[in-house]
């Protein structure tokens, strides 16, 4: 249903007033399922006699897939890192985009630590045999040695922070490689990919936390991440950008035809090609590539590089 200006700007006097702001960009899940059932199914359509829950399933799956890469809808959550150097992943987290520490109002992007920073451990006796409880489960300490060292800031690291052997030493950069003085011995440089003084992090997906290096306790961290667009199960909030509306119909159509018995292969292929082409178009559209933007970027050519 189209909104009046009053409904759009003021939510018709109801709270929250900003409920409908920007809503015109989106088409709701209800509209998608309803429109699909009305216009793409029936006695004279390729799809007929399909349950609504199947259409709903494919619609939601399509929206999930779009949220993973095509939509540019990045969520952000700011939390303080606890004293175990953990940041619990957002409740609708699927994958991360960027993790930054907020210092003095500036966001400093952090580097993902390629080293293992967390580990599970089992208790062992003096003969290195694993200890078990009466149920036969291996006994675990609260933290592994690796975790304790990380939390206490004693873990050596390849990154340029307090745990690194080069930390605090002057060096010089030549041809992209860092070199340090003789006090450090003969060094052939460090990896520039790890030459970052900011703290590092590693994501423990199974435990649902981001583990940080030692100096992060109490720091404010902003996690930018993508979700699957399911809005915590509240279907009234699930929506699709209108640029992808036709793609979603094509996606549902294809998924149903692809899994339906007796549909000719050329029809399935036609549906697949249509779906793919529409996705391509929608991605180009949402990229907002237009002359004025290109012009602004191209103006950089006149800048003098010192």
């Amino acid at each position: 249903m189209y909104l009046s200006q009053y409904q759009y700007y003021d939510n018709a006097g109801q709270t929250p007033r900003d409920k409908n702001w920007g809503s015109y960009q989106y088409v709701s899940l209800y509209d998608i399922v309803n429109n699909f059932l009305l216009n793409y199914t029936g006695n004279h359509s390729l799809v007929n006699n399909e349950e609504r829950f199947k259409v709903l399933f494919h619609a939601k799956r399509g929206i999930q897939e779009l949220n993973y890469d095509a939509f540019k809808e990045i969520k952000a959550l700011e939390l303080e890192v606890d004293d175990q150097l953990r940041f619990i992943l957002p409740s609708d987290f699927v994958n991360w985009v960027r993790i930054s520490v907020n210092r003095n109002g500036l966001l400093h992007p952090l580097t993902e630590n390629a080293q293992a920073v967390t580990s599970k451990a089992y208790l062992q006796d003096s003969d290195y045999d694993i200890l078990f409880d009466e149920d036969g489960n291996a006994l675990s300490p609260e933290f592994s040695e690796l975790d304790i060292k990380r939390i206490l800031g004693q873990a050596p690291t390849i990154y340029l922070n307090s745990g690194n052997q080069y930390n605090g030493h002057l060096g010089y950069n030549c041809d992209g490689n860092w070199y340090f003085g003789y006090r450090m011995g003969a060094r052939f440089g460090l990896q520039t990919g790890t030459a970052n003084a900011n703290p590092t992090f590693a994501i423990d997906k199974k435990r649902g936390v981001i583990n940080f290096s030692s100096i992060m306790a109490g720091e404010i961290v902003v996690v930018e991440y993508i979700s699957d667009g399911m809005e915590g199960g509240d279907d009234s909030l699930v929506s699709v950008n209108k640029l992808f509306e036709e793609y979603i119909y094509a996606y549902i159509n294809y998924c149903i035809l692809d899994s339906k018995l007796g549909v000719q292969e050329y029809i399935v292929n036609r549906a697949r090609k249509r779906k793919t082409a529409l996705l391509r178009n929608a991605k180009i559209r949402i990229s907002n590539i237009h002359p004025s933007r290109l012009l602004m970027a191209m103006r950089g050519q006149d800048k003098w590089i010192k």
Binding site: Y30, H44, E51, R52, F53, F57, K60, M230, D235
Partner: protein, 316 residues
């Protein structure tokens, strides 16, 4: 139409002194004939759809699908279903909705329940119900919302005209007594999807597509349907659109002393055929077949069959 059909049937039967059928026999044959035609609507409709998909059906006045749809829709009714217990509702029946359902086409449910309870007061002159335990303002009841209530064991709907904390003024004159069970809904309805018993358990455990008030579902068992999610359990929340069986035709008469019954449609149990005039020929043919069998006159049966066949071909 019923008298005209009877006269035609008797005229054909009497032509060669084949015999005579009594009014009670005629009524039995008429019921059977009407039912035969009525139940063939669905298969005729399906056949027509197949023709359309094979591109051998025309449009505009040649669009027979529209005609069949109109014939079917003559028997379409929409009624609220009576609540049995928890999330179970009685399917349409003579006792709950006043008619038997031949085919349940769709079931709807109100998506948002605002308030429900039992009235403990009424202002009859103002069409107002009172529930001193309720807070309708807090519940968000507003003008235009729908109130379902039980009046004379039947679910009725009225619309909210005014609201106070403990009373609602509505359309209709139904709040004549107290202790009336009621429920207030937003006017929005969603179609409930019929799900088989083999699927419903899995569906309930599928987070992505589990039944919700916005995507409600139901299963059917005996004379009841079970609504999902189970919070669909209040008075008047479920409405069904279905095709009812046609009413039994009844040719009524007054007996004259000379013996010949004379048609009298003023009798209380009079019931005409409910099929359109279009089906008069087919009714005659079908009744002739039954009557022919009854009086053991094979010629009448054959005539009826041939006539029916011609009628069917003409319709195609």
């Amino acid at each position: 139409m019923i008298n005209s059909v009877r006269n035609t049937v008797l005229s054909i039967l009497n032509k060669n002194n084949y015999g005579y059928i009594s009014p009670s026999d005629f009524n039995l044959f008429a019921k059977q004939a009407q039912l035969d035609i009525f139940t063939s609507f669905m298969s005729d409709y399906n056949e027509q759809i197949n023709k359309e998909n094979s591109r051998i059906s025309g449009t505009e006045y040649a669009d027979l699908r529209k005609a069949i749809e109109a014939d079917i829709d003559d028997f379409s009714v929409t009624n609220p279903l009576q609540l049995d217990s928890s999330n179970k509702y009685f399917l349409p029946s003579l006792t709950t909705t006043g008619d038997e359902a031949f085919f349940i086409n769709k079931v709807l449910s109100y998506t948002e329940l605002l308030a429900n309870g039992t009235t403990d007061g009424t202002v009859v002159a103002e069409n107002q119900c009172v529930d001193s335990t309720a807070d309708f303002i807090e519940d968000g009841v507003a003008v235009g919302d729908i109130v379902a209530l039980i009046a004379d064991s039947i679910v009725e709907y009225v619309t909210v005209l005014a609201v106070t904390e403990t009373s609602i003024t509505t359309t209709g004159v139904l709040w004549t007594v107290t202790d009336i069970p009621y429920a207030v809904y937003r006017p929005t309805k969603k179609e409930m999807e019929r799900v088989t018993h083999s699927k419903i358990t899995m569906l309930e455990n599928a987070p992505l597509i589990m039944p919700k008030t916005d995507w409600p579902a139901y299963t059917q068992e005996g004379i009841r349907l079970t609504a999902y999610p189970s919070e669909i359990s209040t008075v008047g929340r479920v409405v069904a659109q279905y095709l009812r069986f046609p009413r039994e035709p009844k040719w009524t008469f007054v007996s004259l002393t000379s013996g010949e019954p004379m048609f009298d449609q003023s009798q209380l149990d009079y019931q005409d055929f409910e099929l359109s005039l279009d089906f008069e020929n087919m009714l005659v043919s079908k009744i002739l077949q039954y009557a022919g069998m009854s009086i053991r006159e094979i010629t009448a049966v054959q005539f009826g069959q041939a006539d029916e066949q011609m009628e069917k071909q003409a319709k195609q």
